[in-house]
Amino acid sequence: MTLSHDFGTWVAALLTLCIFSFLYKDNPLYKFAEHLFVGVSAGYYIVLNFWTVVVPNLYDPLYRAFTRHDPITHAVVERTGGPFAGSVGDYRGWFLIPGLLGLLLFTRLVRRVDWLSRWSLAVIIGVYAGLKTTGFAQGDLVAQAQASLQPLWGHDFWTSVNAILFTIGLLTSLLFFFYSREHKGSLGIAARTGIVFLMVSFGAGYGYTVMSRLSLLIGRFQFLLNDWLGMK
């Protein structure tokens, strides 16, 4: 058992134990680690989005467009057209618009002018409304329905049984999510059959989630045992 000599591993191991201490009871060590974590993650998100999105996707193109020099190498950028002669993928000066919209978001911190931030919200929500609607319509509605069109008989016995069971499960589960009529009579029977399929699928979901959670614990113990305590 050779203890690791790396300062970083010790810091990580001690903080890991601080958080595990929450299992015993909520205590100052856990509170310290938790607030440390929130601080680091909020700070990291700011720096990450600054250096990987705001600078390369916004500042650099604007710098090149208006100073005709590369922001890093300061070499002259030779290209045709002025700062607003954009083409697909190369929008140059037009990036002033998202830059302005981004800054407008900060008006939310000031009560009097926070209505200005609605312009930035409008762009985000408009783009995502369009993207999500088409993404779901194609990927989750039409493609899934198309994949459910399968022959119910014609090949070997078990495949047909599964195909029929599958189609019954699909149609009754769809009828469970039906709101225009009370679930009585035949619709009631269909809904009750549908709930059976739904509950089986939730049970399967539960089983898989258990594996995910346990994997996380196994990963942490592997870190503590192998990297920190050096037990192979």
Partner: protein, 278 residues
């Protein structure tokens, strides 16, 4: 038979048992033999079918929370791609993940260089790092990967990387290997890219998201699926490797059996209680 003492059992005893059941097999492995399931075989065969030397997009959309399940998959898939002389472009759409993904890929590349394989950053693999924007980034990459990622994870200009000169948009990729822990992940890649840009796709995901992607496997939108640590372990077995996923499976077995016991016992306690009270 009065089990009410069980009900008043302090839950910290249960925590202790879970801790011991997981720690035990890690110290003294039992070696319960691994099975193999179809979705994992399909994942392995889909990558094996990629033409030699083709360019593959590998989007590792996870953060440290998905590490134990998804890092083994990333390593094994990256090794299989490298051994097929495929060239890999890596992206990460999760805010907290790009550091972990780069460390995993670079660690794997170092290991393979130590084994004498000639793998060069910028020629054989490129890590373009993180980009905010969820689905917007995926569709943006359709117009040009370099437009969405002007620089890579190590702050080099994307255009300066030799591999990136051969990558225009999704049509330059032979396949998308998506390692996903939730949103944005496999569902968004299927919706926004898979059918729209005819990009064949395989997915490795956390066990919690696996059931949700089975319909995509059945419909053919996904050509293979690795579900959680079990999927990663079976994939390692197919590849003849013994990584951290395989080593963790004994602990999974014991812990799963314990959780199943908890469900049964919890209901037995409640059932006896309901019968004994008048």
């Amino acid at each position: 038979m009065n089990l009410s003492w069980l009900e008043k059992l302090d839950r910290r005893w249960l925590f202790l048992i879970v801790g011991v059941l997981v720690m035990g097999p890690l110290l003294r492995p039992i070696g319960v033999p691994l099975g193999s399931s179809k979705p994992v075989k399909q994942f392995h065969d889909a990558i094996a079918a990629i033409p030699e030397g083709a360019i593959v997009l590998m989007s590792c959309d996870y953060d440290p929370g998905g590490k134990p399940e998804l890092v083994p998959m990333t390593r094994t898939a990256f090794r299989q791609l490298m051994e097929r002389h495929c060239r890999v472009v890596i992206t990460c759409l999760w805010t907290g993940g790009s550091g972990l993904v780069d460390e995993t890929i670079e660690g794997m590349a170092q290991e393979m260089r130590a084994e004498g394989k000639d793998i060069v950053y910028g020629r054989d693999y490129v890590d373009l790092g993180y980009k905010a924007g969820y689905e917007a980034v995926m569709v943006l990459m359709g117009k040009g990967i370099a437009n969405a990622f002007p620089q890579d994870q190590r702050a080099n200009a994307t255009s300066s990387l030799p591999l990136m000169r051969e990558v225009r948009d999704y049509s330059s990729f032979a396949m998308l290997v998506n390692i996903s822990a939730g949103y944005p992940g496999t569902k968004e890649w299927v919706q926004q890219v898979n059918s729209r840009f005819h990009l064949p796709m395989v997915s490795g995901c956390t066990a919690v998201s696996a059931p949700e992607y089975y319909p995509y496997l059945q419909s053919g939108q996904l050509r293979g699926l690795l579900g959680g640590m079990a999927g990663a372990a079976e994939y390692e077995k197919l590849r003849g490797e013994k990584g951290s996923a395989t080593k963790g499976m004994d602990a999974q077995s014991l812990a799963h059996a314990f959780v199943a016991l908890c469900i049964v016992l919890g209901n037995v306690v409640q059932w006896t209680k309901r019968r004994t009270t008048p």
